[in-house]
Amino acid sequence: MNYAVLRVDEFALHALIRSDPALAARPVAIIAGEGRKAAVTEVSPEATGVTAGLAVTLAMARCPGIILRTRDPAAEVEAHRLLLAAAFTLSPRVEFTGAGCCTADLQGGDPVRTEAQMRRSLTELARAGLAARIGAGATPLLADYAARQADRLLIVTDAREFLRPLPLAFAAPLPGHAEIVRNWGLRTLGDLMALSKAEVGLRLGAEGVSLWERAAGESVRVLRLVEPVKTFVADWAYEPPVESIEPLFFRLRRFAERLALELRGAGFAAERLGLTLRLEDETEYRREFRLPEPGADVDSWLRVLHAHLETVRTAARVAGVRLVATPTRPAQRQDGLFDTGLRDPAAFWENLARLAALVGDDRVGTPWPADTHEPDVFTLERPLESVPAPANPPVHPPRGQALRRFRPPWPVRVQCVDERPVGLKGEFAGGAVRAARGPWRGGGGWWKPGEWAVEIWHVELAAGGIYQLAHAAGEWRIEGILD
């Protein structure tokens, strides 16, 4: 028993259900692909008649109440961290093998204690909402096969007997080879092993030999180890924001389960918990709790958090939550002696980021005319790194006077004769119109709620001043002055 593999089949689906309690025990399918190629990739057992690979339309036909979701990367990251945390409780040498799969190098450990820890880890993972399986064997490959085959925990002792009935797909043939061996009628690893390795190699080349070796469990490899976590942080963004305590508390429980496992795997305990609630009005609510006693017990953390949250009333809905566990042995950090502060050009971007944090990302940048005929609409682009070279002068320079826009525009009442403005009455400007040019008409956005239509005039008032008048949605406004 040199290696253990922790595995969650249909990982994306389990991660999603773990993160959304409303999906538990319901017919749910993860779908991928666009248009005609949209198909089910993973499916819960409640979705009767639906299998992976089925077209989405057919899945809807077969299971009318089915809930179709795409993968949730944030939920998967959370679930992966949890799985890794569980793996680190078995060994400090852990590989992130792939989606829903970690491999731990158990060499040098006590087999009896390791097996007991594996069972504990499975229980903790199940409590944290992740139905994992663990397989153990002499090689990472055998451990992986064992994990796929396990009910909960399977330790392989007689490799050859174990391998014989396993599905050939376990050996992951290349797509082209999978079709060939399927056409040969091979279904199990034993079927392939029964063929001569040389004959298979003759037909399928080097990859065929490798496939045969994988089928025989002969393949060995070196693990690509991952670093244990050093910071114990969990973060989640709600879409849409939440306004009751239940979803918030559900998420904090999921955080606590993972962070506690991570701390234990790294040999730490938490002495403080930092809670941040990001509110929909772009403010934040922060609070730090010193735990009565350093530890990694989920229930005691949750008691502290729950007691506090019951008293909290926020001004806006909660858009995100973050929980930070401070370990009792904090990492040391040496400040730089030569930090130059804001004099560094990079500080510009830092300042900009701070501004954005204050006023919002969508309100910082260089204004740029938007690609629309709608007047005075702009987008904010990221400022250019350097001043661009001057463009060629326009073929036809703008004629007449420049428009100085009033923001907001001035409401005005307009008197018309023969559909032409002859008089204005407004708070800031008014009087008889000496001359009027126009109208110029524009419109767009008719296909969406933001439809617009506007008629523009330039009017010279008898009292002086040339103004730009706009008539839209039955109302007149003075948009600016031409000067």
């Binding site: 077969r62 056409n183 009628g185 037909r203 005929h373 296909w447």
Partner: protein
């Protein structure tokens, strides 16, 4: 003040304008514009439609065109005379024929060389002058203008100015006015019209997006700035150009100079080159009498009289050359061994019969010649020729090009319009709807599906678009507006137009997407409206089957002469009466099969009626049940009026044929033959319901004058109205019935040859090859698998009860590789699999396909052994390894395939199985299921459960939302009827599941068996192959 709009585009500028020519004509009439010039982009595609609509609306339809020049600028030209029109057509043809479809450009040199009687405008923002003014300034613009002035001179170039309420209008117009005055060129006000009314502005934006392959959200400034480019009345244009009144006045002056309309376009059909000393008339007479002798033997008086009458009329109307040309084409086909048969109303003509153009004796069949040709008729008679589909038909088409040249003949266009499902897909995409919603919509709501049981909003909801979606109202309105507008130009399936001289003088020609074909810019109705002669060279799958069957029969020493088939063969009629008609022409559809047991055809004419009666016309006109009930003696035969008795006697008082309408019009309504002909055309002219209404009113008044009672008149008018929804002429039904009968006779007496040919001519007909093979099995025909040692490329008959699949049936084999195999085998048979692999040139995928399909079994023993061995061969000679190096017998360590595995491999590589039907494997696990062939033992009302592969799903428009499903099992077919409510409930399952389990009540009446569905579910049985289905057509 008067004004004429001289620069308008229609939707026939294909995605560059938003209104049909008819809508432009109607709006021009409403605005009291005296004339309107249509300048579509690079063509005159919409000219005929404008001509027809504007003439009727009292607006003078002027012809123009926007020419895309080699530098990308666009020059609008207007046609002043017939000579100018010919030049325009020639310019466009030259540009289009040298470029790929849609990329034709006129060179400045061509325009300079030949522009007489064309009047140019400087154009709008895409015109050479304004385009350069914007890009490079006044000097460059003046230079471009000068080039135009040099080409057209000061009297044929107008400086176009537009005011569309845009801020930049004035600066540009100031330049244009100054430049025009400096060059002493006249100004011309236009509105650069791209839509009839402002309401069509949304459509224009959508079209822009489609053209630019973008969405409305991303299109930005490419969309129209406002909706001002619509037709405007004189007063509005006068007000806009109050400071330049001459620009408006010049529109009227110029319109007066434009003397050309399509009334003068001068088309003439080509003469037939007759031998020296003959005229077309004398030669036609000579050929007709010679043919009549061969057809009729001794010429009786009625035959002589009819032929004389027809010849006299044909010659007097000047159609002799036309008949000779069609006759000569038929002769060509016959010389090449290509089956050919005229269809349509030509079969009403004894001359056509004598010339061998048609196969129906109209005198013996008492057909009405006036349906084909009549006194006072000005349009050309319609002769359609049925030919075997694919290569043989192409031989005839290419012969026409060879005889008349690429500029003397062309296929008629087929205007592809925005229709149901495609409209939603395209418009939805532009509106930014997600692909998966559009995809689900397409899959759930088939093109041929009956659309009316579910509102469009509900359909979209089912596809995943929420009912309250903010874009839904605009989407629905845009789809409504877009529907019916042209999308692009395709080619008609077989209509060819010929002309005396160059056809390209009369209408511009373009390259078709298909190599070697050219297409003219008008569709068949346009050509008819303009009096152009069209010969339809139609490809018919069944003609190809007949041809192939006859060839196989001849090779096997059992030749058949189609012309001499007995018309009263009892065995053939027995098969037809039993509705055992899979594979037969016209009578194999589900609806036909459901009618045949009631109709029980006993004679050839019964078959004619059977072909004609299952059509939307008779179904809508409620003619089907009365006819069948009267035929069965359960209903008395009555006539709406005693004068109708001789006309409707053969159809038991029911109106089934167009000829009957004509004769009713003449004999009950007192119409002349020409009036009756006009009435017939109005019925067939679906573009204008008003035209039909006018004729119906005229007919109703005529019947009243002739003393026809109100009830009888109402009955006749209702029957006529139904013919607007497609009814056959009797002659056409007879022509089709001839082919149907031939196919039935061959299925009865040359069964193996017939099935082999059906398989060779796929895709065609209603049923998939898998169904045909199963049907063949039920007729005692064994189908043997494809085999590299024995199969040909095509299916072959090995014995009277045995068909051998051809190697062409195996998916994915290159024809060249198969030909190489056959050549190698002709040298000597393959001694071993190694020998086969060594001497053939199949690639790895092909070798696997042959092995998987069982085609290598003769050399390898079984499929798995073959699959094992073919993998031992590398690509390329030098890589040949053991299997080829050693000629050792094949020894595979692999087990043979099971029955189910062979079945699956069959469907993967052949889409059919020569073994047992897949349902046979499932039968044991479904004990309550009724086999299809046992349903006839059930009682009406009995609850039954049927199951099988879905081979048809249909919701015809005539069935008011009812869905018909045909399931196939190992014993035959079971039909189910699904009422609309259940259909909507189970739409997803019905539309998407390849095999169904249907529970319901049996209906077994008069030999017609249906299950009225009550529950529908997917058939359990994962792993069974999916079969092709004929859906919603």
């Amino acid at each position: 003040m008067h004004y004429v709009e001289l620069h308008a585009r229609s939707a026939f500028s294909f995605l560059r304008a938003a209104s049909s020519p008819e809508a432009l004509a109607a709006e021009a009439a409403r605005l009291q514009l005296p004339a309107l010039a249509l300048c579509d982009r690079d063509g005159v595609h919409g000219a005929v439609r404008l001509y027809m609509a504007a003439r009727e609306a009292g607006v003078r339809p002027l012809v123009g065109c926007e020419l895309t020049m080699e530098d990308g600028s666009v020059v609008p030209v207007l046609v002043a005379s017939p000579a100018g029109y010919r030049r325009l057509c020639a310019l466009l043809t030259t540009a289009h024929l040298r470029a790929a479809k849609g990329e034709g450009r006129v060179t400045w040199r061509e325009l300079a060389e030949d522009n007489g009687d064309l009047i140019a405008l400087t154009g709008d923002a895409e015109g050479p002058v304004r385009r350069l003014w914007r890009a490079r300034g006044a000097a460059a613009a003046a230079e471009a203008g000068a080039r135009l002035a040099d080409i057209f001179g000061p009297d044929r170039l107008f400086v176009e100015i537009q005011r569309q309420f845009l801020p930049d209008d004035e600066a540009e117009n100031e330049f244009l006015v100054d430049w025009a005055r400096a060059r002493r060129l006249p100004l011309l006000a236009t509105n650069g019209v791209v839509q009839a009314t402002p309401a069509a502005g949304g459509v224009l934006d959508v079209f822009t997006c489609l053209r630019e392959h973008t969405t409305l959200d991303a299109a930005g400034r490419r969309l129209a700035r406002n909706r001002e480019r619509h037709l405007k009345e004189a007063r509005a244009m006068g007000a806009l150009f109050a400071d330049l009144p001459e620009a408006v006045h010049n529109t009227v002056r110029l319109a007066e100079r434009l003397q050309f309309t399509l009334a003068d376009f001068g088309y003439r059909f080509p003469d037939y080159a007759v031998p020296a000393g003959e005229t077309q008339e004398s030669y036609l007479r000579q050929m007709t009498w010679r043919g009549a002798q061969a057809r009729y033997g001794a010429l009786t008086d009625p035959v002589r009289r009819q032929l004389e009458r027809e010849l006299e009329l044909i010659c007097r109307l000047g159609f002799s050359g036309y008949f000779l040309i069609v006759w000569d084409l038929c002769e060509f086909a016959r010389r090449q061994g290509i089956l050919v048969q005229g269809r349509g109303s030509a079969a009403n003509s004894a001359v056509c019969y004598s010339l061998g153009i048609t196969a129906v004796d109209p005198i013996g069949s008492r057909l009405l010649f006036e349906r084909f040709l009549s006194e006072g008729r000005t349009d050309w008679p319609d002769i359609d020729l049925d030919l075997p589909s694919a290569e043989r038909r192409e031989e005839v088409i290419q012969e026409v090009y060879r005889r008349y040249g690429r500029q003397g003949a062309a296929m008629t266009a087929n205007v592809i319009t925005f229709r149901g499902r495609s409209t939603m897909r395209e418009v939805g995409k532009v509106f930014g709807l997600p692909d998966d919603v559009l995809d689900r919509f397409s899959r759930l709501f088939h093109g041929g599906d009956f659309p009316h049981t579910l509102e469009l909003t509900e359909q979209l909801k089912l596809a995943g678009l929420a009912g309250g979606h903010p874009r839904l109202p605009a989407l629905l309105e845009t789809c409504r507006q877009v529907r019916g507008l042209p999308r692009h130009l395709g080619q008609h399936s077989g209509g060819m137009v010929l002309s005396a001289g160059r056809l390209s003088q009369f209408v511009p020609l373009e390259n078709a997407r298909m190599p070697g074909r050219s297409v003219l810019q008008w569709d068949k109705t346009d050509c008819e409206d303009m009096g152009m002669v069209k010969i339809d060279l139609l490809g018919l799958g069944m003609m190809a089957v007949l041809q192939d069957t006859l060839e196989i029969c001849a090779r096997r020493g059992r030749p058949v002469d189609l012309a001499r088939l007995p018309k009263d063969d009892p065995a053939t009629f027995q098969l037809i009466q039993a509705a055992d008609t899979i594979g037969m022409f016209q009578i194999e559809s589900r609806a036909q099969i459901a009618t045949l047991p009631r109709m029980k055809p006993e004679t050839f004419y019964d078959l004619v009626i059977e072909v004609a009666i299952i059509r939307p016309g008779p179904i809508h006109g409620d003619a089907v049940n009365p006819y069948l009930e009267r035929r069965a003696g359960r209903q008395p035969v009555t006539y709406p009026d005693e004068r109708a008795r001789p006309i409707l006697e053969r159809t038991l008082g029911v109106i089934l044929f167009q000829e009957q309408i004509l004769r009713l019009a003449m004999e009950v309504g007192g119409f002349s033959a020409a009036e009756a002909g006009e009435f017939r055309r109005a019925i067939g002219f679906t573009r204008s319901p008003e035209r039909l209404d006018r004729m119906k009113d005229k007919f109703a008044a005529a019947m009243k004058r002739n003393g026809v009672g109100d009830e009888a008149a109402a009955f006749i008018l209702k029957s006529i109205a139904s013919f607007a929804l497609y009814g056959f002429p009797e002659s056409h039904a007879i022509s089709f019935a001839l082919i149907a009968y031939a196919s039935a006779w061959l299925k009865t007496h040359r069964t193996a040859e017939f099935y082999a040919s059906l398989l060779n001519c796929q895709p065609m007909g209603f049923y998939s090859p898998a169904t045909l093979v199963q049907d063949a099995r039920r007729h005692g025909i064994r189908t043997l698998p494809a085999c590299v040692q024995t199969s040909d490329a095509a299916c072959r008959v090995d014995a009277d009860d045995t068909v051998r699949l051809g190697l062409g049936s195996v998916h994915g084999l290159r024809a060249g590789a198969v030909a190489g195999l056959l050549a190698a085998r002709r040298d000597r048979p393959f001694a071993s699999l190694a020998d086969f692999l060594r001497r053939t040139g199949f690639n790895a995928a092909e070798r696997r396909a042959l092995a998987g399909a069982g085609a290598l079994n003769a050399l390898a023993g079984h499929r798995r052994a073959a699959l094992w061995e073919v993998e031992a061969v590398g690509e390329g000679d030098e890589l040949f390894r053991r299997a080829v190096a050693e000629d050792a017998p094949v020894s595979s360590p692999l087990a043979k395939m099971s029955h189910l595995e062979r079945l699956q491999a069959d469907y993967v590589h052949l889409s059919l199985t020569t073994g047992a039907h897949p349902m046979k494997l499932l039968r044991a696990g479904l004990p309550g299921l009724w086999p299809a062939d046992r349903l006839r033992e059930g009682r009406t009302g009995e609850r039954v459960q049927i199951g099988g592969a879905v081979i048809t799903r249909q919701r015809p428009g005539t069935a008011k939302g009812v869905c018909f499903i045909t399931l196939e099992d190992e014993t035959g077919f079971a039909n189910a009827i699904v009422w609309p409510k259940l259909f909507e409930k189970a739409r997803l399952v019905i539309s998407l599941e390849p095999a169904l389990l249907i529970t319901g009540r049996l209906q077994n009446e008069q030999g017609v068996i249906h299950v009225i569905a009550e529950q529908i579910a997917a058939l359990p049985g994962a792993g069974l192959p999916e079969q092709a289905s004929h859906d919603f057509h």
